[in-house]
Amino acid sequence: MVILWTDGLIFTLVLAIAISVGMMLRKPHFKRPLAKITQSKTSMVSLVILLCFAGVGLLDSVHYKDSRTGEIISLLDHVAKPLTEQTERTYSAPFSAYLYSKEMIIHDDGREKWDYPRLKYGAAHLDNPAQQKWPDILSKAAIGLGKGVLLALLLYLVFWMIRGRKSAEPYRPASKAALLTLFAIISLFYMLAYLSHWYHVLGTDKVGEDVFYQTLKSIRTGLVIGTLTTLMMLPLAIGFGIMAGFFRGWVDDVIQFIYTTLNSIPGVLLIAASILMVQVYMANHPEQFASVLIRADMRLLFLCLILGVTSWTGLCRMLRAETLKVREMEFVQAAESLGVTRPTILIRHILPNVMHIVLISVVLDFSSLVLAEAVLSYINIGVDPTTYSWGNMINGARLEMARDPVVWWPLSAAFLFMFTLVLAANLFADTVRNAFDPRRAEHG
């Protein structure tokens, strides 16, 4: 069991979320919005999707040293071992039995022919792909789907066992939708997984790695960027924001000065410089970064850090403004007249009343961060080129789009997954905002 930096942080984050949700469930002023969220179909569906992504991400965050190769791999790698091992020479289309580029084939009889060679693994079990392929795919898909459905039903049974007693009447329609999505996802995913034993369901990339595997791996990167960054920035934003708003005077001036300075530096330059810095550090301390994975992980973490540093100012400003409002509220004055000390007032009166802003902005930032990762990777100041990420995939895809015939699947795959994640995140964020933002309580 190896725990990388990001892994550790992710698990702490998960823990934190679990706890805070638990606490929120007890607080009625959270209960209402939460109820609102759980009642909306879209939010529940997107939540389920997000959770599924998160599941994959977590699976990919449990690392251990593989006894055989001594490489550090994650559970996901373990599950997807066949995918990692079945690498072709180069591109091949989804479900294809042939390589995507012609090359010299030397037949057994020594004849040489310039043609598309068969794949080493993809559809290798067929001896005459031309006729057999599609029937085979369909049948296998059917089997896979069937198994998937069974699995899903099984899960349902367990699920029902657990919470069947206290049936959640009010949430009926939404939870039904959620369960349906879950059902669909599980069975479809299982089908794909099943098929990928025989085929490259999303094709292979330039060096013949399975694109399906890459996209799965990319999920973790996206999630880490989206979540850890906020984790990094929250303390800064909340601390400074509230203090500036509450104490005003010189404290306010100093904090404002700090974030104006940070804001006025073009973010890209800041990020670029910092990333360079990490590389220098790694170059000077190679012993600490024994394996590619660790190096990449370090860089990823640092990227989150620096993104956090560049992005806390926005939230900070909002919190400051809100605090300025809240501190004028009469209950704060009442507390003062009751002789409550200022720190207590900060914690007990100010913080809880600005928390909804934090929540909203966190959820909103998530998607934009996931998108930002892609852009940064394009300018080579994103994640380490050896880490799987949608950004890197898109980056490669630029070249592939120039080919003729076009290599469309890596781009499409990245697009599909990224789009699903971000869309889900956005929809969810919307409902969260509508639920928690007092101003938007009335209209959608």
Partner: protein
Amino acid sequence: MTHQMMSSFLSVKMRIQAWFFYSILFFLTGCEMAPLNNPYREVPPGVSVLYSSFAERPKHLDPAKAYSSNEYTFIAQIYEPPLQYHYLKRPYQLIPLTATEMPTVTYYNQQGQVIDGKDAGQVAYSDYLIRIKPGIQFQPHPAFSRDEQGRFLYHHLNAEQLDATDALDDFEQRGSRELVAEDYVYQIKRLAYPKIQSPIAGVMRNYIAGFAAFANAMKDQPITTLKAMPLEGVKATGRYQYRIRIKGKYPQFKFWLAMPFFAPMPWEADAFYAQPGLIDKNITLDWYPVGTGPYYLTENNPNRRMVLTKNPHFHDEFYPRTGEAGDKQNGLLADAGKKLPFIDRVVYVLEKENIPYWNKFLQGYYDASGIASDSFDQAVQFTGAGDARLTPMMREKGIQLQTAVTTSVFYLGFNMLDKVVGGYSEQKQKLRQAISIALNYEEYIAIFMNGRGMPAQGVLPPGIYGYQDGRAGIDPFVYDWVAGKPKRKSIAVAKRLMAEAGYPNGIDPATGEALTLYFDTASASVDERSRMNWFRKQFARLGIKLIIRATDYNRFQQKMRQGSGQLFTWGWNADYPDPENFFFLLYGPNSKVKNGGENAVNYENPEYDRLFEIMRNMDNGPERLAIIQQMQHILRRDAPWVFGVNPKSFSLFHSWYKNIKPNLMANNRLKYTRIEPDLRTQKRYQWNQPVFWPLLLIAAVLAIAVYPAVRAYRRRLQETII
């Protein structure tokens, strides 16, 4: 900027008309029309313009500083050294350019008597006497322009003159003058001048007599004093002839004489550019060259494009009448004896990404192109015999393919100072040999270079004297000769070598774990990942665990200098077609760590060094060849490099592109090329017919999307309570 605004406003009127024309036209008919996607402005008919590109702006256009290929693409067309390589003849052959004939070399011994110089040891110094053609004129340039009294117009610019100028074109007076030997001498002085920081100053001070002394003398003199100050070893012995004195014997020097470093530089240029205030407007010798070549730089906006225009004063030079066998059939002698150059103008457009470049090439907006590995399948296929030819699609476009094995080598180096991979003991040799076998460069070439390259068998690439192909030329430690082909030894052999080297199955007895090696790389691009994965796999086959350490180029170089690296890939591109230019990469005294030389692996083998010292001063001949063979063998045994790849360059040319012959030494090829503009125009029309219906479709969809809104609004207006 004001300038470009002006030009833009001038072009406004006609543009508007054009746009209206297009827009009207396409809604009426979809028929034949001027391509909308033409990135260039129209050129007057009859003027033949060549379109090319540059990925990164050249750092220097000063022949004393420029050293990289992207700089040479420009200055080699502008500056003329005394010698050049024959365009058609192979093996590469030096011929006079501005010189009347090849320089005459006389050798002297200590006592100063003339000797034949057979024995390099005897030679104290050798004189190169060069005669240049009279009547050669410099390009038009304000630095030369004088008033009727013969005083220089622009050598003492005053304030308002400076304000008036934004680019070089703003000096309306342009003069010229005849090229004299003194200009060549002056340029060599510039090489020595410390402030200019010529990259070859370090090399030349070892050869040209008095070079070092001159450099020291000029340490803090202003550049204007350069003219007066004499340089002992270099003297103009007449208006049209000058002499260069070389310490000892240095046969390779004649190759230097074909490089822009030794092109003439008029002192007026320095005098002109030295004026304060010009540099603030980016008017420096680095951006506005002054040469005698077939072309001169008329527009230099490294942010967008650079334009070479035919030099009106260009001296008589003619297309070669003779070539090697087969040139006639290939039509390479069609223009024999015609006056050079053929093309009126060359436009280099800034193009960072190679995708747009490739697409524009296919659309006919670039005349020539390399092949990015991603577009390779689209362009090229291999026939049964394993040789490359164009795909049908390309052929029907009439595109021509040209291939050549470059005189360069990409190798994987072992840092010989390293404890694990370095050292000269039997075992270390075996370890390195094992790795050499395991790294299957055939596969590498197939995957990452689409077969554009051949596995290197030694230090020397093909086309360099001393290279042998066939059985004699293979690396016996890595290859066997099977069925008339070199065949890489099996992985089993490598494993055995590993065992003998003390790492059975790659297990390091010291740790008991798999042997861990570190691979340093400078680049961090995305496709690098797959390359690194490949390397990892290859090493894994020996049970070696490879760890990639990617940093930026600076760190990488630093590592190299400190010798803290272990494995790394690097390449070398020939300066001149002589084996010395490759063998010196492993010459002990050139060690990077010790002397900051080019010997990056810090290889040091007394025997090899001895042979090298003999070899480098010899003229080509059987005994030189013999020594070269010995050296090759030593290297193959010690295996300080895994001799990686000699890349093959594939380039594509459109049908209107004439006189194509690969020439890796000559970089002033431009003057020989000819294009047929009419053919090009016609093809462009044919290839770039815009497609409009999707636009209409989109419009329709939008309309449909908006319609319900309108209807809903109508309904809203009519609604009542009950």
